[in-house]
């Protein structure tokens, strides 16, 4: 377990970085209903070390499953970079056994599932370097906002590894199978403009402004009926697989959502031509 536990402050409003916060390898603060998770190891460009992984899982576990006040999450990196990838000097230092390695990868997979298949929307705010596992994290998010000077690289194969942390699934989903195969085999660097063109990111901003834009997007998510959004995100993991899967999900989930108070409120608000007020039931 990570030694540097970070307690998420309760209540609304932004929280300034306390002394304890600054030292954390993963910082968490809240702005209204949006929680901002910051990877914080700028001297290593937020490398995806074991310590970072565990701290991220703690943060996401708490925000997704235990913090009702958080409706949407933004993931970003400190020091002008998102995440430069796995910690190669850590990997060079020791080679664990095969079974230990399986467990370590399972840890990354657990984090991936919290982001990709969890019940709350996650927005990536990318500045600077987004390589390797950094790319995996960005691709696991529902939407990504990129600084115009950010750089992306599926660097794994260059160091003799497979793309991991879900990227085998998420990269083709984002940019198509042909383009994904190309980027994975060549391990070339692409810029933000190309990332936007191929669908890896959804929006580009001036350098330094990705976080603000991401928070805005996250706030939009936070304004939707939470139950419906959670059901939608969960169902999207398998919904596109086949007509049968899509059919079953529709048949099962539509009646459920029609039963929610939030749906009734939405219909009423529409008929009365006013703004809806959702309470998450």
């Amino acid at each position: 377990m990570s030694v540097e536990q970070n307690e998420a402050p309760e209540g609304a409003g932004g929280q300034p970085d306390t002394d304890a916060n600054v030292a954390e390898i993963v910082q968490v603060r809240r702005e209204g209903e949006v929680a901002i998770v910051t990877m914080n190891c700028p001297s290593r460009r937020n490398a995806f070390s074991m310590k970072m992984r565990v701290a991220l899982i703690d943060a996401f576990q708490r925000l997704v499953h235990e913090d009702a006040a958080t409706k949407a999450i933004v993931l970003t990196g400190a020091g002008g970079h998102f995440c430069a990838g796995g910690d190669l000097s850590e990997m060079n230092a020791a080679t664990p056994t095969l079974l230990e390695l399986r467990e370590r990868i399972a840890v990354a997979v657990r984090l991936f599932k919290l982001i990709y298949a969890g019940t709350k929307p996650v927005v990536a705010a990318v500045e600077g370097t987004c390589f390797g596992a950094g790319l995996s994290l960005a691709a696991a998010c529902d939407v990504a906002v990129s600084s115009s000077t950010a750089k992306y690289c599926c660097a794994f194969v260059k160091v003799g590894l497979l793309p991991d942390t879900g990227l085998l699934w998420t990269l083709p989903q984002k940019i198509g199978g042909g383009k994904a195969r190309e980027l994975m085999l060549k391990a070339n660097v692409i810029d933000a403009a190309e990332a936007l063109r191929i669908g890896l990111v959804n929006q580009t901003t001036e350098p330094g402004r990705a976080l603000d834009a991401a928070i805005k997007l996250a706030a939009r998510f936070a304004s939707f009926p939470p139950v419906t959004l959670a059901l939608l995100k969960a169902s999207l993991v398998t919904a596109g697989n086949s007509i049968e899967d899509a059919w079953r999900l529709e048949m099962d989930l539509n009646p459920l959502t029609r039963q929610t108070d939030d749906h009734t409120e939405a219909v009423a608000a529409f008929m009365e031509k006013r703004k809806p007020v959702f309470n998450g039931t």
Partner: protein, 268 residues
């Protein structure tokens, strides 16, 4: 550095293989018929591709191209005489072995496409990992025009490459597009001046040949068979990654990163 392997002594082989360092160049060789493929040619291609993938330690990447001005005009229609259903099934299965080897085999395949890539010729191009197309190359899934469904794996490979709505357009309407359009929709990864595709393809192949071979091999297997659903993709990484982490090539890469040196990869 180059070797010619001919099938017969009297006539040039329908499939030719030459070597350029770690790159094996496979040439469809029936230029008088725009490299249209009859059964014999398909079988030869199947055997050649399999040998290069499974048993040729000299090569680390493969380039696929066509002799003369075209890539491949498709199946040889003059051979489409009446066959029994069982014969047809067998013949189709033969073509599909090539595509499976190209997609899931351990070595990256780069297609160099000049001129036409029609029907099964398109299927072959699309089964490559990377496509270099001449700007005036012509791509067309011509199958429907002759009352057939698109084959040689293209029902999976084309939507994977360009998405289903564009694939549907090409497959169900037999719509033709040129190299430039192919580049725009990611059917081609690179678009170059006519006449220069082979050189460009060899360069790409050389670059890919420098990557750790085991990682490339497992990546290709993972992308073809191991990532059809999210759960499958996650299982694949848990199963394969530890093997790669323990590989000598990965450790060489880590050491090189720390020492700031250039790693040498042996495929172990």
């Amino acid at each position: 550095m180059s070797g010619m392997h001919t099938g017969k002594d009297e006539a040039p082989a329908l499939i030719q293989v030459t070597c350029d360092g770690p790159v094996a160049i496979v040439t469809l060789n029936n230029p008088g018929r725009r490299n249209a493929m009859g059964r014999q040619m398909r079988q030869l291609l199947r055997d050649t591709m399999h040998r290069l993938m499974a048993g040729d330690p000299e090569s680390r990447a493969i380039v696929l191209t066509g002799a003369g001005e075209h890539f491949c005009a498709g199946a040889d229609i003059s051979e489409m005489t009446k066959r029994t259903i069982l014969q047809s099934r067998e013949i189709l299965a033969e073509s599909c072995v090539v595509v499976r080897d190209m997609l899931a085999g351990p070595k990256p395949v780069v297609a160099a496409v000049e001129g036409v890539a029609f029907g099964a010729g398109l299927s072959l191009a699309v089964a490559a990992d990377y496509v270099v197309a001449a700007s005036n190359a012509r791509f067309c899934a011509a199958f429907l025009r002759v009352g057939l469904i698109p084959d040689t794996g293209i029902l999976w490979t084309l939507p994977k490459k360009i998405g289903m709505s564009r694939a549907r357009e090409m497959l169900s309407l037999a719509a033709e597009i040129d190299g430039t359009k192919a580049g725009a929709i990611s059917l081609a990864n690179e678009v170059v001046e006519p006449g220069t595709t082979l050189a460009a393809a060899i360069e790409v192949a050389r670059g890919l040949a420098e990557h750790p071979p085991l990682a490339i091999a497992l990546l290709k297997a993972a992308l073809t068979d191991g990532a059809t659903t999210m759960d499958a993709a996650l299982r694949t990484e848990i199963d394969y990654q530890p093997v790669l982490r323990q590989s000598r090539d990965h450790q060489a890469a880590c050491r090189a990163f720390v020492d700031k040196s250039k790693p040498v990869f042996t495929g172990q």
